[in-house]
């Protein structure tokens, strides 16, 4: 009992900080979302009886963006997980120069997103980017990679995967390093192949780390903003616009704070639902794996 009190007291500053930076804005958004507060009201909040929420339900752009955001998050997190796992397994093997190699692979993650996005925008530039230069030197003709929704979407995902895969890899590498080597050796003695070891031993033991990576990255990817803002501006034709971008536009460009708060809050609720769903899925899957026995 006593140690619990102590723990509570020790956690108090952190909880207060959390309340200040998290709970207060949420309450504020909730309050604002029930008001009209735009240039037309001179930015003075005027109660409008839930009209913002009605507008949200009717706002095709919000729901399109929600779908786009979700699709982006799921695809990039899935790819990051697979790629990050491969990278982690590679870096986990005893290689010469492993230290510098690990540092090197982390580089994309250390790069500020805006800088990274500018780099990609340059690489994909039509016709002056290096990618198109390479295509031309091979006898092809330039292609507007960021001019069609499908290729743009692909490269947005690719850029995100490229940037955050090292983070996932690092997290999983930390997990791999907690697995004692003799567990793998014990299984090798049973004649297990690499694939069997991965499936039967490594992956189940990585479940907590994978869950962490997935939840963390999912939360980040659902709030994606700067990458898309810089790389595509939400284009072409809004096909890569994310919810965060839409909320930002409503607040900073349109000065429609009532509706922006509504969008932000709705985004947050969507995030909670997605994370909760992801967590439940992982937990069920993880438990199923770890309690697996002779069938």
């Amino acid at each position: 009992m006593k140690s619990r009190t102590v723990a509570l007291v020790l956690m108090l500053p952190a909880l207060l900080l959390l309340a200040a930076v998290f709970v207060y804005p949420l309450l504020r958004y909730g309050w604002l979302s029930l008001h009209a507060s735009s240039v037309l009201t001179g930015l003075v909040p005027v109660p409008n009886g839930g009209a913002n929420w009605g507008r949200l339900l009717d706002d095709a752009r919000f729901w399109t963006d929600a779908g786009q955001t979700l699709r982006f998050a799921l695809c990039s997190v899935a790819l990051e997980l697979v790629g990050g796992l491969a990278l982690a397994l590679l870096l986990h093997r005893p290689l010469r120069g492993r230290g510098p190699l690990r540092a090197l692979t982390l580089l994309p993650w250390a790069l500020p997103t805006t800088v990274m996005a500018l780099g990609w925008r340059w690489i994909l530039n039509d016709p002056h980017g290096p990618l198109n230069a390479a295509i031309r030197s091979l006898g092809g003709s330039s292609y507007g990679f960021l001019s069609t929704p499908a290729t743009t979407w692909f490269f947005v995902v690719l850029a995100d995967v490229w940037k955050t895969m090292p983070f996932v890899a690092l997290l999983l590498l930390a997990g791999l390093q907690t697995i004692p080597l003799d567990l793998e050796e014990a299984l090798r003695l049973e004649g297990a192949s690499r694939l069997q070891i991965l499936r039967r031993l490594t992956l189940p033991l990585l479940v907590p780390y994978i869950s962490l990576a997935v939840l963390f990255r999912l939360a980040q990817a659902l709030g994606v903003f700067d990458l898309i803002q810089v790389l595509t501006g939400g284009g072409p034709a809004g096909s890569t616009e994310s919810l965060a971008l839409y909320a930002y536009l409503n607040a900073m460009r349109f000065l429609d704070f009532g509706y922006a708060s509504t969008v932000m809050l709705a985004t947050f609720l969507l995030l909670l639902v997605s994370l909760g769903g992801g967590w439940l899925l992982l937990r069920r899957h993880g438990l199923a794996r770890t309690t697996e026995r002779a069938a």
Binding site: A186, R188, L189, R200, R293
Partner: protein, 331 residues
């Protein structure tokens, strides 16, 4: 290489080098079917290395591993049908006791019914039936060790390797488990190699002891042989507690005398003075000052040392060594 092959396990000139370091340097060793050989030595002597070479977990830099005359050296661990009990037990933390036993069988592709039969039989043999649903984290140290043992025995291995299997247990449990371990492991058809740094355990478990130092085999033989007829000074001083007295008796020759072989009495040839007594209950250890230096003597627990002790011993107990190389010299 010669192909004359005995039944059982045979190591021929087995070597392991990593960079410039020789972890194991030309080990020759034979383990008969059903025999238990303890690899004994200080840490870093190459005993665990030997085990890993036999299991195939590390590649040999030279030499051969033969089982019943068949060369296993190039084979993968899975093909060798080796069972190994790790010092850490290496239990899969995400699986229950039953799952731990089952995983290896599953990997080998055994049909479910046979798997279940084997698991049930082994759990019974080791009296683990009630624990079958527990996870390793929910087991005591002794229970974990038994599960590790069960996992090793389950698959009817052709060689059994044990890497310090009891070093994580407390002393009492270690002594209690020794007979059981022998009952389960030894005297069957497989050769058993038992790695330990504890000579008591080696003596208690093994039919023969192979003593290693710095990657080289020093001597192999029954505990009695190693004790009474050590090949060199290292063997003499590694085995036996309290350790053998090494006395610079004459130039160019060093005399080894075990504390239990020295007698105290008025008629001895070497004068001594008592420094201190350690009373052990069943025995007592006396520290005596002589003109050769300090000497340890083991006597009965009750006899008080004479006021002016003089040391004597039988010639047959004298062990002579080269003071520089440590090699055994004739009497």
């Amino acid at each position: 290489m010669s192909t004359s092959s005995a039944a059982g396990l045979e190591l021929r000139q087995l070597c392991r080098k990593v960079g410039d370091r020789r972890l194991l340097d030309g080990l020759d060793l034979q383990v008969a079917p059903g025999e238990c050989v303890a690899l004994l030595g200080p840490s870093g002597c190459g005993k665990s290395t030997t085990l890993r070479l036999v299991a195939g977990l590390d590649p040999a830099s030279g030499g051969q591993v033969l089982l019943d005359g068949v060369d296993l050296t190039g084979r993968s661990p899975g093909e060798r049908q080796v069972a190994m009990v790790f010092q850490s037990y290496a239990l899969y933390p995400h699986l229950s006791v039953e799952g731990n036993l089952d995983l290896g069988l599953k990997v080998r592709g055994l049909p479910p019914r046979e798997r279940q039969q084997r698991i049930d039989a082994t759990l019974e043999l080791l009296q683990l039936g009630e624990l079958r649903q527990r996870r390793p984290a929910q087991l005591s140290g002794g229970q974990r060790q038994r599960v590790a043992l069960a996992r090793a025995l389950l698959r009817h291995p052709r060689i059994v390797l044990l890497d310090e299997p009891m070093s994580n247990l407390d002393a009492q449990l270690r002594e209690d488990l020794r007979p059981e371990l022998r009952r389960l492991l030894c005297g069957r058809e497989q050769p058993v190699i038992y790695v330990t740094h504890d000579q008591q355990e080696a003596v208690g478990m093994a039919d023969r002891i192979a003593l290693l130092e710095a990657g080289r085999l020093q001597q192999v033989g029954s505990p009695r042989e190693l004790y009474t007829n050590p090949a060199n000074r290292f063997v003499a001083s590694f085995l036996g507690r309290p350790a053998i007295n090494l006395l610079a008796v004459e130039p160019g020759r060093q005399l080894g005398l075990r504390p239990e072989h020295i007698h105290l009495g008025g008629d001895g040839t070497v004068a001594a003075r008592l420094l201190r007594r350690e009373w052990w209950g069943h025995q007592q250890l006396l520290w005596l000052q002589t003109h050769w230096g300090a000497v340890r003597v083991l006597t009965g627990p009750e006899a008080p040392p004479p006021p002016e002790p003089r040391l004597s011993w039988q010639r047959q107990h004298e062990l002579w060594f080269d003071p520089d190389s440590g090699a055994r010299l004739p009497p």
